[in-house]
Symmetry: C2
């Protein structure tokens, strides 16, 4: 499960004084709370790609939001799990390619952009209920008032210009009113129900649109924030509505005896919307520097939760850095298999040794790149460059998570070592981008 543009400081379990997220709080009380969980990218599409491939999106050309597409040569988590008999579903925001070649849809769909056509059903998902990109968080098919934020060139009350696609040429036409997270979960639950009925294991990738702009919600949720500004009522109201659906899913799994042995992850695709914190862009980084689009901590450190009662018996927190890159290798490690012809390298690592208590530090650094920014982070230190590696800042993230003090001049040796590793990693990404990782007959 992934929220959209939810900041590290937004869930109540992480100290937000305003938000109400009782179900995320329950996950936090029962599972692992990652104090340093990182979105692979500070924007939407690339992080999503990392979740289902374990590979940095610069390896396959998803550099930014609305850019590139999931290459057919990449192996997705859904494709991998299908080889083990899983049924697979994608629900919510896709943003890894266009979903139609016929009509203009969302940011890129339609006859103008057939090159980026790469829908869930061509990437291993048996079932989907997916939008190309963003939709309003309440009445997702209808253009909301401009106060909801991010509304351009459309008239409130008219169609928003996008669709939930369920297959090639197939759009959902019913049950599209009200809370978008509920609309999504209304498709997830029947998918799981069907999996149970057919005695099959399942993978459900649930990528909520909340709280990305346009963000608004219904009275029920706004009323839970009485006394706050209208913007806060809508922003955190939408988050609470999403949280309610997470609770609904948890309860469903419990009622059907699946909870104990289901691995659940929750995170966000990047930090909160990067504009000044005003109007509807209420998301909080909890004091971290930078917001969405930045490789400072505020842009990439996001909520990170994992529950799996069969193995994780009680609450556990960690300062070891983990990443959305780690989902793919973790799931394959849990199931104990590797994919033939796996494009390599995989940037993520399995979390399983950590979950079993066998590691105390991350052995493999995490590389970041977005537009002109690059960053590279090991267990303690992070180098950051605003200009593609011409100049570096150095931060001790353990002792200075706010990145207040650049210590690059005190520790040129650390900068040198990390920047050399970063260079090698960037060259490796470049080779991947140039199709070196695929076994092809040219």
């Amino acid at each position: 499960m992934m929220a959209d543009d939810m900041g590290w400081g937004d869930p109540a379990y992480n100290g937000n004084p305003v938000s109400k997220t009782p179900n995320l709080d329950k996950m936090a009380a029962e599972g692992i709370v990652f104090n340093r969980f990182y979105a692979s990218s500070p924007v939407c599409s690339p992080t999503r790609g990392s979740c289902i491939t374990g590979r940095h999106p610069y390896r396959y050309g998803i550099f930014f939001a609305n850019v590139g597409h999931m290459r057919k040569e990449e192996i997705t988590l859904a494709e991998a799990l299908k080889t083990k008999g899983y049924v697979t579903g994608h629900f919510g925001k896709w943003h890894l390619g266009t979903l139609t070649k016929i009509e203009k849809d969302a940011n890129r769909g339609g006859p103008e952009d057939t090159a980026d056509y790469s829908p869930p059903w061509e990437n291993g998902f048996d079932v989907c209920f997916s939008t190309e990109s963003k939709v309003p968080t309440w009445n997702p098919m209808i253009t909301p008032p401009k106060t909801a934020g991010g509304v351009r060139n459309r008239i409130p009350g008219e169609p928003y210009g996008t669709a939930y696609w369920t297959g090639p040429g197939h759009k959902a036409t019913e049950n599209l009113e009200g809370d978008d997270s509920r609309i999504i979960m209304d498709r997830v639950i029947p998918f799981i129900k069907k999996a149970i009925k057919s005695h099959k294991p399942f993978l459900a990738v649930v990528w909520f649109h909340t709280p990305h702009l346009p963000v608004l919600t219904g009275d029920k949720y706004k009323n839970m924030y009485k006394g706050q500004s209208v913007d806060i009522q809508n922003f955190y109201g939408a988050i609470t509505a999403m949280d309610e659906q997470i609770g609904r899913l948890r309860n469903y799994l419990k009622e059907h005896g699946l909870y104990n042995n289901t691995v659940m992850f929750f995170t966000s695709d990047n930090g909160p919307e990067g504009k000044a914190r005003e109007g509807r862009t209420q998301g909080s980084t909890k004091g971290l520097k930078g917001r969405k689009r930045s490789l400072y901590e505020g842009g990439i450190r996001v909520p990170g939760l994992m529950t799996w009662p069969a193995l994780i018996k009680s609450r556990k927190t960690t300062d070891i850095p983990f990443s959305t890159l780690d989902y793919y290798p973790t799931v394959l490690d849990i199931l104990g298999f590797t994919m033939p012809d796996q494009p390599e390298p995989i940037d993520g690592i399995s979390m399983l040794p950590f979950i079993k208590g066998n590691i105390k530090e991350r052995q493999v650094p995490i590389g970041f790149e977005s537009k002109k920014q690059v960053a590279f982070m090991n267990n303690r230190y992070k180098i950051y460059s605003p200009d593609q590696g011409q100049h570096f800042e150095l931060y001790d993230i353990i002792n200075d998570p706010q990145e207040t003090t650049d210590i690059s001049t005190e520790h040129p040796d650390i900068v040198k070592e990390l920047s050399a590793e970063l260079s090698r990693w960037r060259e490796s990404c470049k080779r991947s981008l140039e199709y070196s990782d695929y076994k092809q007959d040219f």
Copy 2:
């Protein structure tokens, strides 16, 4: 006009003792002979992209043969000239994207590779008669004997598994027997005839398959090389057959009073096939180091001819380096216009100032990159790296075109300066690849 895998030493005008290319020789006698003409890449697809965009193919993700596709955001020469009332045609090998989403065709076409669908008719060409990639140079729709080279997994005499496409879903079905260059020219001439009839200027991009493997020809052309080996008979016979069609085109233009004011270019997409010079891989680099796939001179220095009797009154040779990147800016400069929303930077330069006698040196270096090799070349010096810029060799190309003597240790200053420029150019390509050059609303 472009040959395929024809080496710098293959045409008779350039000193080849065996080959018969009377029509290329006539072009050489009447126009400009470029002694240093460079294919932008040492392999097929990227060079083709450079010809019609003026931009290095790493900017838009065509890294190698059968990789990537012409992005819709790029402006092609055909798209540019259409804005000036030109009719535009593409004839021969395309190799800049797949031509069908329906059936398996050539290397990549069909339902498996819709992401790379980018046919001539979606890139500004009104008319086309185009193959996705290679075909045999004689009876192009039929699998030749294995001795023709490059024949795998097919049975001689059966269909070769590819088609000449003339539009979406439309394949040519007639007049596909015999010499492939004649088959192509049989479509070019009527295209020009129609342009004349409708009083419109025209752009004809003619990309022959000759002498790429599988290479073979008919008895008429083989007999012209009696006494030579069967391999030479076929290889140079096919080149002579192509040359004959170039003569046919020249004659047609002369007969219709168009020759004087038609700009004609001839080149090859890269050096000769890179395997050992045996069997059907007869192409000659005239002693230059390296062959196809190499950034040494043998892989990228190719025949370069230009005729334009209205402006170029007599034979002229030059040692100034020019490139396939220069076609686009040259043609736009000749016609005196620029494209609105032109993706920039353009790597090529206009040849017009040189043609008019106003420059004696190339002011803008030429950058090369292919797989792990990078190179950067100014008027006299060339740096070459086999490992993406970790180590550099330096050659004085004017005095040592064979690249026998690496002078990097004698001239560290030149290496330093050129490698710094190369780094900046590579970063610029990377930014382009990440969609920075397009005016898009994300």
